[in-house]
């Protein structure tokens, strides 16, 4: 197999939609990186940081698909393909780690070897997270948090902690762990639905089945004590909204407070651990400057909340999309249950849970932004991400219920553009004051405003299209894509 085909192999292992999303996202990021780097506006440190990010995304989203391909190749008795899947990783390692390591000038306090080593780590950590069994991947998150915490100041920290001394063994351990898990997964020792299955297999199961099957598998895997207990008290034709939410499931399922608290327990625990870790880390570095670590904490929280809001929007829309695609799932039930056919009730049931989830996030985001003493323009950008998430939910709810979902490529492009806008809108206002990015702030703000306006205009048109579709449909529970 030639090098070009080896380059294509991880793409073959990815589901179509994911392929479009990953390809679009990486293409946009690389293009921005190359264009900006060519203008000479990026310093060595910014180039290094930007490449770490691209590296991370590529190895988290794309390369793990080679494992899926190798597993399938083994099952189909295609040893050459199985071998080529490994070779493709080596080719990508050369292209994304070695070559940039040689071309990108190392930041002031790092040597070339340390730069190369850090690129390798930014590849190995996400790959390990995706390829190791679920219970081990949790440790990778902790490891990643440590690395992420160190990364903004990696260049400065490197000399102090003798970066090479800890990074090289860490890389070796990660590679050995990946090799072990790779062998185990490819040989079919674990089922895709089991607890110990690598994240990449679980994600593929969700994506390829593309229906309620993934949700069913998720419910099946969850222990009983962590299972959502539905609140069925106010259900029936007299309570259409509550009844509709029971059938929509997922985030929409009405639950009692005790159940809701229990199901969010893990998220709260993990977030608390994360916050505690951040505080400890910052305090150990700057015990005398409390304001500095507080600022760092709030900036990270604002970031997390911004992305959290986007994730809530995305998860809600994906769930609804699956309901409206599965002809043997909830859709026939919704269509034939008496008393649930009113469009207004349906829209309220579809919109209320994700929007109510956004409200506390919006308040938290506001608190964080005010604690950071952000300038009004910066504050507006942070809040804009959540307004964008809300608009995204409203528009896609209309499109789904109206049976007017645009084709997958447009959705991919919109998703990529939205991700880039959210990232930049959150990243720049919270860190630009402290960073040395040479882009004139005014220009960047103009670009951001233009981007948000363009996205807003597209979303408005799509929303209108969805609304018209909903009005024209004989009833809103007709499946999409048939």
């Amino acid at each position: 197999m030639n090098a070009a085909k080896l380059f294509l192999l991880p793409w073959w292992g990815a589901p179509t939609l994911t392929r479009g999303l990953i390809g679009g996202l990486l293409a946009i990021l690389m293009l921005i990186f190359i264009v900006v780097a060519a203008t000479g506006r990026l310093g060595a440190r910014e180039m290094y940081g930007a490449w770490c990010f691209i590296d991370l995304l590529a190895w988290a989203l794309l390369m793990p698909n080679a494992l899926v391909l190798a597993r399938d190749a083994r099952a189909l008795r295609l040893p050459a393909l199985e071998r080529d899947a490994v070779l493709s990783l080596i080719v990508y390692a050369v292209a994304l780690i070695v070559v940039p390591g040689l071309l990108i000038p190392p930041p002031a306090s790092l040597t070339s070897v340390q730069t190369l080593l850090s690129f390798a780590l930014f590849a190995a950590v996400p790959l390990a997270y995706m390829c190791l069994p679920g219970y081990l991947a949790a440790f990778i998150i902790v490891g990643w948090l440590i690395l992420n915490q160190l990364s903004p100041n990696l260049a400065a920290v490197a000399n102090m902690m003798n970066f090479t001394v800890w990074a090289a063994p860490m890389l070796l351990v990660l590679l050995l762990a990946i090799a072990w898990s790779w062998r185990r997964t490819v040989r079919g020792a674990i089922a895709a639905a089991s607890h110990s299955a690598p994240m990449v297999l679980k994600l593929r199961m969700s994506a390829w089945k593309g229906s309620d099957k993934a949700d069913i598998a998720q419910v099946r895997q969850r222990p009983d004590w962590l299972r959502a207990q539905p609140d069925l008290r106010r259900c029936g034709p007299e309570f259409p909204q509550q009844s509709l939410r029971v059938v929509l499931g997922g985030l929409f399922l009405p639950q009692r407070w005790t159940s809701r608290l229990r199901t969010w327990l893990w998220a709260v625990l993990w977030s608390s651990l994360f916050v505690a870790f951040m505080m400890l880390q910052a305090w150990s570095r700057h015990p005398q400057t409390g304001w500095l670590w507080r600022a760092g904490l709030f900036a990270t929280l604002a970031w997390g909340i911004g992305f959290g809001a986007s994730m809530v929007a995305l998860i809600s829309v994906l769930r609804l999309g699956r309901v409206w695609q599965n002809v043997t799932g909830e859709l026939p039930l919704l269509a034939l249950l008496p008393g649930l056919g009113a469009r207004g009730d349906l829209l309220r049931a579809m919109l209320a849970p994700p929007l109510y989830t956004q409200l506390p996030l919006l308040a938290l985001s506001l608190i964080c932004a005010l604690s950071l003493h952000l300038r009004p323009a910066a504050l507006a950008f942070v809040l804009l991400t959540q307004v964008g998430a809300i608009a995204f939910v409203v528009v896609f709810v209309l499109l789904i219920a109206g049976g007017k979902l645009p084709n997958k490529w447009l959705v991919s492009v919109l998703g990529c553009a939205g991700f880039v806008l959210v990232s930049v809108s959150l990243f720049v206002p919270t860190l630009s004051d402290a960073s040395t990015i040479r882009l004139p702030a005014g220009n960047l703000a103009d670009w951001l405003i233009a981007g948000w306006l363009a996205l807003g205009a597209i979303l408005f048109c799509l929303g209108l299209r969805g609304w018209r579709g909903l009005v024209q449909r004989p009833h809103p529970f007709l499946p999409n894509g048939t």
Binding site: D215, A217, P237, G249, P332, L333, A335, L336, L337, P479
Partner: protein, 298 residues
């Protein structure tokens, strides 16, 4: 028309009716002008090969799909704009039911019972016990067969006037299958419910269906009383020298290696076989339901 009169009018309407339904997926036609009417109290078995369009037809009949042409009616109302009064009278079990996997069977029944005034709690409980389904186990953790049983209990407990089952026995063991068929016959015989079910299993049709409809390549080739199939349809075999006389309206035709032809033919309005049956060397073979199905579908 006032509400009472309207309701009375709907009661006398056909439970299900399809007029010229056409539908295609990605340019491939799966239904090509299907007309079908279900008489009240009948048990119609819909039979056809995989991909013949059975599930699509059922979904179009119930307004779960908007056909590209044609129209379906449920109790006299357009299926796509059905009233709540009609919805209460219908129960539908899709092939491989996936709905409400996050609820237990008990929770599901509790939830659904509020929508159906005639919900039979005792029946639901009895059937759960009989089929040994743990009522508090979340549906996602049940086997496919158990989930199908829960969905069948759900459909039957609502005591519908119209019961539509899309391959209901696919995941059932023989004992449960027999029980279901008995229940269908009981509902139709004693309560006057109308039943439409699709299946591949011809013996099930013979056991309970009062009528059969055979869907082949998107067309309804045959629709008659089950008992009449042997009388009305047969295989006509013509020797090679008579092969050109195959009736134009034959339901199927197959040419053999020796040049002879066999085809499925129907009696005309006067209960006569086509003229070709009287040709020298021609032969009429009576067909069982399964042979008839194979002969047409092959």
């Amino acid at each position: 028309m006032n509400a009472v009169l309207k309701s009375a009018a709907n009661d006398t309407a056909w439970p299900l009716q399809a007029r010229g339904i056409v539908h295609a997926y990605e340019g491939r036609y799966v239904l090509q002008g299907v007309d079908l009417t279900l008489a009240p109290g009948s048990v119609l078995g819909l039979i056809g090969r995989n991909g013949a369009g059975k599930s699509t037809l059922i979904r179009a009949l119930l307004g779960l799909l908007q056909p590209q042409a044609g129209e379906a009616f449920v109790f006299g109302e357009p299926a796509l704009r059905m009233s709540d009064a009609s919805k209460v009278r219908i129960a539908y079990v899709p092939q491989q039911p996936d709905a409400l996997a996050w609820l237990s069977a008990a929770q599901m029944f509790d939830y659904l019972s509020r929508f159906y005034p005639k919900w039979d709690r005792a029946y639901a409980q009895r059937m759960l016990d009989r089929w040994q389904i743990v009522p508090n186990k979340v549906m996602a953790k049940l086997s496919p067969g158990e989930r199908q049983r829960v969905d069948l209990i759900r459909a039957l407990a609502s005591q519908p006037d119209l019961l539509v089952l899309d391959e209901p026995v696919a995941a059932l063991d023989p004992v449960a299958r027999r029980e279901l068929l008995r229940e269908i016959a009981l509902r139709a015989g004693e309560q006057g419910a109308t039943v439409l079910f699709s299946t591949h299993i011809v013996s099930d049709l013979e056991r309970v269906a009062s009528d059969i409809a055979f869907l082949h390549e998107g067309k309804l080739l045959l629709h008659c009383a089950t008992d009449d199939t042997k009388e009305c349809y047969a295989r006509l075999w013509l020797p090679a020298d008579q092969a050109v006389h195959v009736p134009a309206d034959a339901l199927s035709r197959r040419r053999h290696d020796d040049g002879s032809v066999s085809c499925v033919v129907a009696r005309d309005a006067g209960a006569r076989w086509p003229d070709a049956a009287n040709r020298p060397g021609a032969r009429i073979d009576a067909l069982g339901l399964e042979d008839l199905f194979v002969e047409i579908a092959e």
